[in-house]
Symmetry: none
Subunit: 421 residues, 2 copies
């Protein structure tokens, strides 16, 4: 089954509203394995909307529209769709009664003619009751094409998708679609894709799709089958093969992001951590405490952005800093070891580096040392995240700290060879 999404609204063409509706509709359709090849956005313009509908009618089995249903838009979408399919609009008695009831409940405002317009629907169509607004959606089939019209405001659209559209799609689709995400850290998207390319081309169902996001990568495995069990059986060997290809670079299947995964591991294992941050300046601790319940994992930490602070808060001797420099393997090790002792946590992590854009005359911008100490042993990763902007250097520094923690907790080698990720 092929679907097409048409979004109606001048505010979308002006960019003053971001088209989240199309994404919400698309996610639901893809869950049911319904292909979407086209999304079109038109303004509040009957001619262009009709043109879009006529084109969609010729190439799709299902058309979903969003927007243009409310009392302020003169019934634009319903009129255009009705005309494109050669239908009349008729007053839907059930929806009219419901709307009058709503109006009564809200006080004694008059039902204006444009408010009543909302319950005129293409003849014979099924109203999709809008309990989260006033403009009902509707659903009809004509000329072998199914049409679903939905209101534009996301707070109305989302529940309508869940409670009105989902049951329709469940009935229409015969296939089950299932997917799993394989999460990676320590490899770039292009290299991952390069190493997977042959295998990806060999596969047809399930399929593999690589994604990169916020300093980590994932590969989505998706299968289409008659039953959930069958889909799972098809995916299992593919997941194993990808895991085998990438080893410790895979940190989870269907996991959370790397930060959430690591914090969850810490909490599950009852391991506490403390952090000492120089160049990340609080970002690592911020990323830990973004996660509800992180107080069970993070005892606390320090932001030792200046050399003075390194000395005042952690007692790192000024001579150590003078001798090796603040951006050094030695100071990184001191950060992790001393913050661990200071806060009495199981583990300590430290970050020191040069996030840029200004250099220090000694190191290249992007040089970062990330450290982990458990009181017996201290590991330090040295990274050269050159040609990357400040925010990215800081993000990767945090991601490396999480990667060292999750490897430590999983009993994997904490070291990692690459210095550019």
């Amino acid at each position: 089954m092929k679907a097409e999404i048409i979004s109606v609204g001048t505010e979308l063409l002006l960019g003053s509203t971001i088209n989240t509706d199309a994404a919400d509709v698309a996610v639901l359709l893809s869950e049911y394995g319904i292909d979407v090849y086209w999304q079109t956005v038109v303004g509040d313009n009957p001619g262009r909307l009709m043109e879009a509908v006529r084109r969609a009618k010729g190439r799709a089995d299902l058309i979903i529209t969003t927007g243009g249903l409310g009392p302020t838009c003169d019934d634009l979408t319903k009129s255009a769709l009705a005309e494109a399919f050669g239908m009349k609009l008729e007053l839907n008695a059930g929806e009219e009664a419901w709307l009058r009831e709503i109006w009564k409940k809200r006080g004694n405002r008059e039902l204006t003619p444009n408010n009543l317009q909302q319950v005129w629907l293409p003849e014979g169509s099924t109203a999709l009751r809008n309990d989260w607004g006033t403009a009902p959606g509707c659903y009809f089939e004509r000329d072998g094409v199914r049409v679903i019209m939905l209101p534009g405001p996301p707070r109305e659209l989302r529940p309508l998708l869940e409670y009105r559209v989902r049951p329709i799609l469940a009935e229409l689709s015969n296939a089950v679609i299932a997917s799993h995400n394989i999460h990676f850290f320590g490899i770039g998207e292009s290299e991952m894709e390069y190493r997977l390319r042959d295998y990806m081309q060999e596969l047809n169902n399930p399929t593999l799709a690589p994604y990169a996001k916020s300093g980590e990568c994932l590969v989505r495995v998706t299968a289409k089958a008659a039953t959930q069990e069958e889909a799972e059986e098809m995916m299992a060997p593919v997941i194993e093969r990808v895991k085998g290809m990438f080893g410790a670079l895979v940190y989870a299947v269907d996991g959370l992001n790397l930060a959430e995964h690591t914090v969850k591991l810490l909490v599950e294992k009852g391991v506490t951590v403390a952090a000492a941050e120089s160049c990340t300046g609080g970002e690592l601790e911020k990323r830990i405490t973004d996660i509800p319940g992180a107080s069970a994992a993070l005892k606390g930490g320090v932001v030792v952005y200046t050399n003075e602070a390194k000395h005042l808060l952690l007692g790192i001797p000024m001579e150590t800093i003078d001798k090796y420099g603040a951006v050094s393997r030695e100071v990184a090790a001191e950060l992790a070891e001393r913050v661990r002792r200071k806060l009495g946590s199981d583990l300590g992590v430290g970050v020191t580096g040069l996030a840029g854009p200004d250099g220090d005359g000694v190191h290249e911008v992007g040089t970062v040392f990330i450290s982990l100490s458990d009181g017996r042993r201290t590991w330090v990763r040295e990274k050269h995240l050159t040609s990357r902007d400040r925010a990215t250097v800081r993000l990767y520094a945090c991601q490396n700290a999480f990667d060292m923690l999750r490897r430590y907790l999983a009993g994997l080698p904490v070291e990692q060879e690459r210095t550019d990720i």
Copy 2:
């Protein structure tokens, strides 16, 4: 001039990515008065992309595409556009040299063939250097239609729009568009818009447009005129009137965001600060150190996420915490005062509160105390950011800390009456 936006990416059709790119492009086009009647989204499919391009070619003067340029997508967009316009792809020597330089700087990884594909552009087109990624955009004119191709990742697209596309649009359009932003903190968008409504309706050119973003608001004043000078003359009285209407709620005109504005003030005045964060867990310091050069302003700080850490790192007596509770005016004051003394900074700021989603059985989620101390006096703001999620509570806590600092530095009253912002 009529423009059309074509977004390329299967992730958009699947709904896994929201199409913010189309909105960003549309906003820029509307600034230059360029009409957009159609936006189309297609997947990573050459045939359908070509179909969309051929249709756009017949009805638009300017086509802007986003996506499908990176090393993982086989040069989809450039190949399709070149074919649709009967052009060949050629290796752009300037971009190739630049890409090789980048690769050299990043270490000695091989330039894979799919990486090099990025710098093959339609013959005779102008490369739009991508200093924020590796896939250059490009611009050409053919058959009376102008085409601009841009990469999909928003962190690359946005600077390319600003620094590469804006100059092209400025040349294409004959009018000068100038605008100024008036920045607010301490008022909600809807209230701001309500208070401005009459004045907005009275104005035609310049226009006023309110925006809300990341816990602050701004009003954009935009004028269209023959020259920059004329536009400035038209805007000046409007800016003065808005500033007069909102007093100390306006923190800057054409400023940076509130964090950047505050850090700049600190650096300019040579005032140092130290921070002690409980519920914000490093976010305040992260937001300070996001800003290059922040080391001149932030001496350092502590993340005292647990009561133990408050005691161990700052020496706050456990009896104080037991008596008043960690979420209290008294503990907030201690945080600011003690971290200031500990690090020897001019000012200390503290944050303690309940970001949620779990409560502590005493306070409502969203209760936050933010403190500022200069060694002589300590101010504490009490906020009840109820019905807001964890991330928003933490954001507003940070914004209040910045607001207290900027008011202190500007000689304005540090207090603010509202407890819900």
